[in-house]
């Protein structure tokens, strides 16, 4: 467990900023306490100071997880967000997509969101913009990347992909072992 290096921090923030924009500041600078990012076994954890202090006492091998796992650094040193980060992405999300009830399940099984399943979308969403996917009842289901901009979404045929799937809460079940 160690703090992120400059490069790692940059990549992490770059990734996060795709979803929550400048709201990262709110994650870093929290009024309710000091929170920080920690790297442990290639995974980035968002930890409160208190938990961090407690976790220091646990040896590296034995420490499985601490705080909230935001994602992991791949071997190519790219950052991949995990579904566990959804709790922090959803409230600060800049761009959102609401999925129709019928398409919810499909999304939760790891499929992309088609236009036919698109219930609502934030305006001015650009292509390849990070999106948080909600159900129509405003339950965050996961996140992804806009395959089409909002304007394009209007034109495309119903079976075309609108949001690329990245993570969904179904992974809690499907990737139970790898999530941690």
């Amino acid at each position: 467990m160690r703090p992120l290096t400059e490069e790692e921090t940059r990549t992490l923030f770059q990734k996060l900023s795709k979803y929550i924009g400048e709201n990262i500041q709110l994650l870093v600078d929290r009024p309710d306490g000091t929170y920080c990012f920690r790297l442990h076994k290639d995974r980035v954890y968002y930890v409160s100071e208190k938990i961090l202090k407690l976790a220091v006492n646990i040896s590296r091998e034995n420490l499985v997880s601490l705080g909230t796992c935001f994602g992991k650094f791949t071997k190519t040193q790219k950052f991949r967000l995990h579904i566990t980060a959804l709790d922090y992405l959803a409230p600060y999300a800049k761009h959102k997509v609401w999925v129709k009830p019928g398409a919810e399940q499909s999304f939760l099984y790891g499929n992309h969101v088609l236009k036919s399943g698109l219930g609502r979308i934030t305006e001015n969403t650009n292509q390849y913009q990070g999106l948080v996917v909600y159900s129509m009842a405003d339950v965050p289901l996961g996140f992804g990347v806009a395959a089409k901009s909002t304007q394009d979404c209007r034109k495309v045929d119903p079976m075309s992909i609108v949001v690329f799937h990245q993570a969904d809460i179904g992974e809690y079940v499907r990737h139970e072992d790898t999530l941690i």
């Binding site: 400059e6 129709k100 129509m136 405003d138 034109k155």
Partner: protein, 1167 residues
Amino acid sequence: MAASGGERRLFVGGLGPTVTQDDVRAQLSRFGAVSSVELVSRVDVLGNPEKTFAYVNVALSEAALQRCLSALNKTAWKGGTLQVQLAKESFLHRLAKERQQAKAKQEQQFSDGPTAGSETSLGKNGILEFHMKAVPGTEVPGHKDWVVSKFGRVLPVLHLRSQNKRKILKYDPSKYCHNLKKFEQDVTNTVSISDLTWKLEGGDDTMSKKRQGQFPAFRNCPPKRAKVGGNHCSPAPPNVAQQPDVQKADLSPVELPTSGSSRHKNSQKPETVFLPASKSPFVRSRNTMSDDDIDSEDELKAMIAEEKKSQKMVFETDSTERDSFEVVSSDFKPSPASSGVKHKRTQASCSNSSHPAESDKEYDSGDTDEIIAGGKNGDQSKNKAKTSPKRKAKPKEKKDCLQNRTDHPSSGHATEIRKGRHSSGNEKESSTKLATKKLPCTPPESEDGSEENLDYDSMMTNCYRLDLTLADLEKLASEGVQKAEDSDDCTEQDLPRRQVPDFSQKKRKASNRRAQCINPSDILASLLEGEEISDRKPPQENMWKSKFQAFKGVGALYEGETLRKPFRDTGGFAHKKGHSWNQEASANSVGKQAFGSNTCSSEEMFPPQDGRETNEVDGLAHCPGKAPRKRQASRDQCSTGQSSTPGSECENGSVSSLSSLDTKKTHRTDLGSDAGMRKPKQGKSDSLPLRPSPGQEPKPVVLKTHAKKPIQVSVERVSAFSRMQGKAPRGSQEETNCPPPQIPSSDAISPPKNSQDNQKRLAALEERKRERELQKQLVRSALSSVDSSLASKPTHIVFGSDSEEETEEKGGSEQPLPENRVKQDLTGKTSGKLFESSEDDEQESDDDEARFQIKPQFEGKAGKKLMNLQSHFGTDDRFRMDARFLESESEEEEEAEEPKKAETNEEAELIAEKKKNLDMIQNLLHIGHPTPKLSKEEMAAKQFRNIVRYDPTRLDHATFERKTDPEEKESKARRRKKREEAEKLPEVSKDLYHSIAADLKDRFRATEPAPGGTGATGPWNETPEELETTEAPSAGLSEFTFSFFGPDSNGAKEEPYKIEARAPGRMAWQQDPRFQDSSSEEEEEEEVEPDDGSREAAGTGEVPLPEKPARRFFFFSENDERLGVGPESFWQGSGSRASSEDWESRTMVLLQDCRKKHKAAKRKAKP
């Protein structure tokens, strides 16, 4: 196709390029007479001959042909190898032949006749034996599945496989195509237009009305509306389930409006015609209205705005394409509340149109719940009939449950009643069934009752609400009177079937009573009675509570009537069978006693008996107004049995209700008196036959036991009895109804136990009451202390909201010193300023008070700093240090303090990390400093500094002037220069010309001896234009001026002018001016001189006039008067004018010509 001995067409190929027709002709003529040779030579792109061949028409016999072919074929001739073949017929020949044939055929056809021709043509096309006159539908012979249709068209018969079935349909087009029949107009049977319209006969129902074109008032259809509200996610009813926040009460109307309500009503009250169909919507309307009332306009506005927005969206999307999804702004926030509101709205829209607006919240919610409950009960009641009577009440949603249960019996009974009716044959069975079925319904109520106790206060309010609803009831009742009568008839019809004639009379009375009940006052009375009973009973039994909700009043009324009937029926059965059931009845009585003693098991012990008991009790309580209530009472009795364990709770409730009850009783007794009066009468008639069955009494007995006692004996449970006093009279009435001998029998067993239990209960109640009061007092005292403290606080507040903070700050005695200091500082400063600046004096005198207040921004440490900062500046607004500056300061402070706080290294590290992260984020996102305000301020300040008012009068401000001006000037100068240049060009030419002129002068001077001659001759040769231009200056200089000013000018002087004037003489021989120009002047002169050799002599003389006129006679006659007049004659004469005009016109023409030429030249030059 040539004739055997005739001409043949031969192809001769492989000819050399040099071969000519004659060669070919000569070559072939050996074999036969060549009529024509057609030589064809093909040439490639470059013109090189590729091959040459010829078609030759030769008259050849067969033998000759063979000879020819063998002789010539493949022989080299003239640079080529011959190739001779018989050629194909020339196309022209063929064409001609065909035409000839066609002509011949035509002629033939004409001779045969047209039909034969067409037939032959058809025959040629393969349609043989075809008859044009074949009837449509006949098959084409020889072709299966082809049919002749009208106009002789042949159409295929189609075999179509129907979609679902395997059957194959045969589609004969002849039956469908071109099969129009012309209808002949039948003038005889004309029908007037008025007859063409007819009226649909039908009832009053909505469908028939619609058929007649009477549509109900337009209602906005709810789903659409909901859809329009783009904001909330689940507009359609089916989605409602997704909205967790939506209450059930909201839910139900959506489900109900159409089928649900009617179904429930039907199931609940199958026999009630009395119940208007519009009840549920009626109720709903209230519900929605009440909701809307709360929602207020703001929300509505918001919703409208949202709707508009969404519509807008829709439009936008529509413009491009219909989109299934919606696009929301980035600040979109889903609001379940709003969606809920919308929901309500839709309901409102449904109901508003039809129903008047009324508001009774609880009532409505209750009703909606009731409806839900009805829905549930519809299912449950069936189940209940089989399931065990035990049903546990759900502690939550008290009201819902309550209403559920109150409905339960009704629905349950309804079903039972139905059954009862159907099974009119075996009444006994049915009655027993009823008994058993009723049981399950009752227990839940009892539980409700127990719960209800807790909410007794709310119930009290409900009771008042009853009065409100009565207004509605009156309306309903007035409408329902007729229906009621109908229902009465129905009941009369129904009842006789099942009941013994004895009861029919009773029914009649009951129906009458019902009819009376319809009068609002009666309804009120009966209702109040019902309540009375319900209210009274709880105290008596200490468990039983009225669960009459306000809304229930309506429902109960109707239910009561509906229920009355069945009960009467059942009662009737009970009475009929009563005697035979004596043993059972006795058992019942025992059961009842058990109830009285509040054993929990009573209900479980004797379910069947209970049921019967209730029936019997109802039967007993035939007085219609009371019947339902009594039934409920009996139910409640059961409930007491059930709820005896939680009895303590009930007691609590009852205790709380004590005080309110008394007041109510009085009302009720008054109101109910008339109804009560009626009751006894009917009751007597009814009850008398019922008495025989002893088991009926148990409940009344219990009542009486209590009721009597309070009147006669004043025991220690005064409170309880005081409650019962209202009841007592009624009890007595009942007593009067009931023959005394029976009462004792039941009384004998029950009083002792009951009394003991009651005593205990009452004691417990009193204890509870005391505890409550104690608690209340405690709470009150606590509250009062709080209140007092609260009250005391505001008294200190003197100033506005600012001062509040101040006082609070003062109260928190942590920073009194700094504040004081601040105050002092402030005052000192202000005062100082007061004296310093005379300007501020006036202002400050105005707001002295404000000045001496401590401003919030000066509080605390930061405030002090701010103060210090401010002290550096004057009081000028611009320099006033605001909270903005404070912010920046405080931030700095914080930043400074934070590291201090971070004592441990870890924290410091963390903070450092945080800072680093933040910096990185800023870098990443290109966000400015987190405190943009400050930066803005700075920017503003900088800008302000930079801004200088430009004073053009000041020299140093010249620096602010833009430098673009000199450039412009330069450009202007350039332009000017250009212009000048442009203008100069002609000038330059003039100059040149002048110089030339000067030369000319010199020359003239040189040839001075004969100036006139030169002057005359020069111009003559020269072009008129040049003449003028040249002459004008020269003449002006030398002679012309003279001529003008000398009135009697010499002929010599006039000469040049004259010559000049006449010079324009357009002689045909005049040369091209350019040519003239190009010629050197010297030559000219040389030429001139010899020409004018003779003239020169005269010219040189210059003086001799006679010569000149002689010479000029062409123009001037001798002694021409014009000469006498001098130049004036022509100077302003018409002739000169004409000439000038002519000149002008000519110049114009010339100019145009020139321009044209110029343009043309340009055009030519351009491409």
